[in-house]
Amino acid sequence: MASMCREGVCFHAEGVSKIYPGTKALDNVDFDLLTGKVNVLIGENGAGKSTLMKMIAGIEQPSEGKLYMGDEEVHFKNTSEARKHGIGIIHQELNLFPNLPVYQNIFMARERKKGMGMDNSYHKEQAAKVLERLEHPIPVDTLVGELRVGQQQMIEIARNLVEDDLKILIMDEPTSSLSEQEVQVLFKIMRELTAQGISIVYISHRLEEIMQIGDHVTILRDGKYVADAEVKDIDVPWIVKQMTGEGKSYPKKDRAIDWDKQEKVLEVKDLTLPKSGGGYLLNKVSFDLKKGEILGIYGLMGAGRTEVFECIMGLRPEHTGDIFFGDEKMDIKSISGQIDKGFALVPEDRQREGLIQSMDIGRNCSLSAMKNYTKGGFVDFELENEKVESQIKDIHIKVADKRLPILSLSGGNQQKVVIGKGLLTNPKILLMDEPSRGIDIGAKTEVFDIINQYAEQGLSIIVISSELKEIISIADRVIVLSNGLKTGELKGDEIQEETLVLASYKGHHGH
């Protein structure tokens, strides 16, 4: 019986294809899931890794091909059937109930009854136990909506861990919103799980992480199997080459500009933002920005990075401290006022904060700059059209027709639309919060190209990133935030992975 799982393999897909209307998302792929290993699926967006993962989890069913678990052929009609076989999944987009406390989230749909009611003391106890194991002793009565994204991710993991029968755990980009520290905790937990014989399917765009945590990689491209290998036998350039068919790497940023002589466009002095319930989100943070400079802000989750942008854009009227725009002290009133002054924001969460899903591509582009294209309240469609068209061309957004829905674009192109929307307002200062989050390598490089291209033209840019390699390759200068404090300012050769990481922990006293 050659079709069954061979030794050391707990799940086997044979010749699976998935046909969507108009496209083959997966094309005759064979896949072995090694028992007790971290099995990494790699591929650019649209390569088919999500589709394959969804088949294993029972979310999608193969159009062709067979799935085996052990010696048995399996057909999962839905996720609960897969769950019965011990397959759990953690989605990239979190599926939590922000209105419910932590312990209810963890035990949702697997409640233990006590008489007529719920055995909540059991729920709380077990939830606390599993969170302890995850090194995130979050009080179990906290509402999930009050937690940071990183903590929410831990709750999602905890949900899968409270079941004893877990055999396969699928993790779709679990680290995309985690800090470096949280990632290390997660990896430790993954190691514990694999030691217990649990097999992990791991999807990530972060190649360094894959090298650290992965045991075996399988690479897909355009829905087809390309290669698989033991991680110990390969390196990052090899993976990139398999994924894209060509080698790509980002060199360290090094521009021959004497920044001291450049004009100062923005100066932030003693920026302070109190935290509700005591303490500070930002504590006397000061920095400046030169014309044409790319300033990086590095820090862990909750370090206060996004809050800096929120203060500058007028979303945090409770902040204290002075912000100078050129020589002028700014009176920050509203976000629309800040956009008029010449600021533009590319927010962190593309779907929730960046796009209007019900609008087409073109209108998403022109939304911020709309008032520049109106005469007496009426939109000058010709002008708007022309501007959007040239912006689309300028930053190479791949669109067939800009009247198509925004969701018809790939993640990378959606991100470019959000960036284009900011650029269309002709900003003097562009604030970008994690501009490459959740997009594939090809699109990432293109986003970097856009940043460089506009910086060359004299646009001053602040980029928040939690990826070390990314910030090193993109920033002229980096400030590091840690626990609301500025703990480092690095330029030129001082910008190294070690120095950044070191500074990012400085603000946590007693840790």
């Binding site: 969507y20 209307p21 108009g22 496209t23 998302a25 649209g46 355009d222 854009m313 509203s334 976000i335 629309s336 956009i339 008029d340 924001l345 927010p347 929730r352 904060e353 960046g354 796009l355 209007i356 899903q357 019900s358 609008m359 209108r363 939304l367 911020s368 709309m370 008032k371 294209y373 109106t374 309240g377 009426f378 939109v379 469609f381 791949k398 669109v399 067939a400 198509l404 829905p405 969701l407 018809s408 674009l409 790939s410 929307k421 307002t425």
Partner: protein, 347 residues
């Protein structure tokens, strides 16, 4: 195979988009076969007169629903607007401190009534934006307040026979309920307002901001859209539309009754939804809403002419609305499928 599939989808999409119009035509044919005299000029004018009322309310409602809100106070504003206008014509405005009673000319009565609608809309908008109250609750509260004042105004009585007095120069209230060149004035106002508000929605930055807020309020705010201002304006538009309906209905009846407009908000919502406005926000057209209003009008009057009981009318209207929303959901799914397809083809 896939090309065939996609052209099938496109055809299905076209049919789905024109579905309300198709339903309207089918209804017209159905009733003209079933009911005698249905396709007569008189019947059509009668339907037009009724549709004008729902239609104008539904225009304002469409704006509100596109921003992701709801306005339950429109029917009550119709009632209050009619009462205030009727009171001004019948009794004038008595200023006790000066011991005088002022009678306004008809154009001024109209302006005052419209201003009243705008102020009530402003109140809705302020409660929703400043105090962060859910639109459903805020407008529910205002609905009771407005309806209460409509009754307080006349202690529950009707202002009847609103002819005005020649000596006071406030005659001519019946104009808004009359016909010009055989066409009901209400219907003409509906068409004018529909054109104006359709242009406002499609061709201006304000209109786009309305769509943006309903599509994703957070993203709209971060893009610099003045969310609160736009929302307040939208509820003011709805208030003004309601006041206009108050004027027309009181004029059509030549009387103002405090209960006028009760549950009309439901007809307005139904018209908007039938016309393809998404209750989730971000999607809708004035043209669709007007067609939706006509569907409701034809069902109402057609069933009356067929002798269907009032109670069965309710059942049928309810089923039609549910059916419309189910189809709407179907269209959305198809749209998502086509977007996915386009995304994959771009790869």
């Amino acid at each position: 195979m896939s090309a065939n599939n996609s052209s099938n989808n496109t055809l299905a999409m076209t049919l789905l988009k024109g579905r309300t119009l198709i339903v309207l035509v089918v209804l017209l044919i159905f009733f003209s076969v079933v009911a005698d005299n249905f396709l007569s000029m008189n019947t059509m004018l009668l339907i037009g007169k009724h549709v004008a009322l729902y239609g104008i309310l539904a225009i304002g409602m469409t704006y509100v629903i596109i921003t992701g809100g709801i306005d339950l106070s429109v029917g009550a504003i119709v009632g209050l607007g009619g009462m205030v206008a009727g009171g001004l014509i019948q009794n004038g405005l008595t200023l006790n401190m000066f011991g005088v009673t002022i009678y306004f000319s008809i154009p001024l009565v109209v302006l005052i009534t419209i201003a009243l609608g705008a102020v009530i809309g402003l109140a809705n908008g302020l409660i929703i934006t400043r105090f962060n109250v859910a639109p459903f609750i805020a407008t529910l509260g205002i609905m009771y307040v407005a309806r209460g004042f409509a009754n307080i105004h006349s202690k529950g009585a009707t202002y009847s026979d609103l002819k005005g007095y020649e000596a006071l120069g406030n005659q001519g209230w019946s104009f808004f309920g009359s016909n010009v060149a055989g066409i009901p004035v209400g219907l003409i106002i509906l068409v004018v307002l529909a054109v104006l508000f359709s242009i406002l929605l499609k061709k201006t930055a304000f209109g786009w901001h309305v769509f943006a807020i309903g599509g994703n309020e957070k993203a709209a705010k971060l893009s610099g859209v003045k969310v609160n201002k736009v929302k307040i304006l939208v509820y003011m538009i709805s208030g003004v539309c309601s006041a206009v309906v108050g004027i027309i209905s009181s004029s059509q009846l030549a009387a103002s009754h405090p209960a006028t407009g009760e549950s009309w908000e439901m007809n307005a919502i139904a018209a908007a939804v039938l016309g393809g406005t998404s209750m989730a926000g971000g999607v809708g057209t004035i043209g669709g809403t007007i067609v939706g209003a006509f569907v409701i009008g034809v069902i109402n009057d057609g069933m009356i002419m067929c002798g269907v009981s009032e109670f069965w009318q309710m059942v049928i209207k309810g089923l039609v609305i549910i059916f419309a929303v189910v189809i709407d959901q179907f269209q959305r799914n198809l749209q998502a499928k086509m977007a996915l397809q386009a995304r994959n083809e771009n790869k």
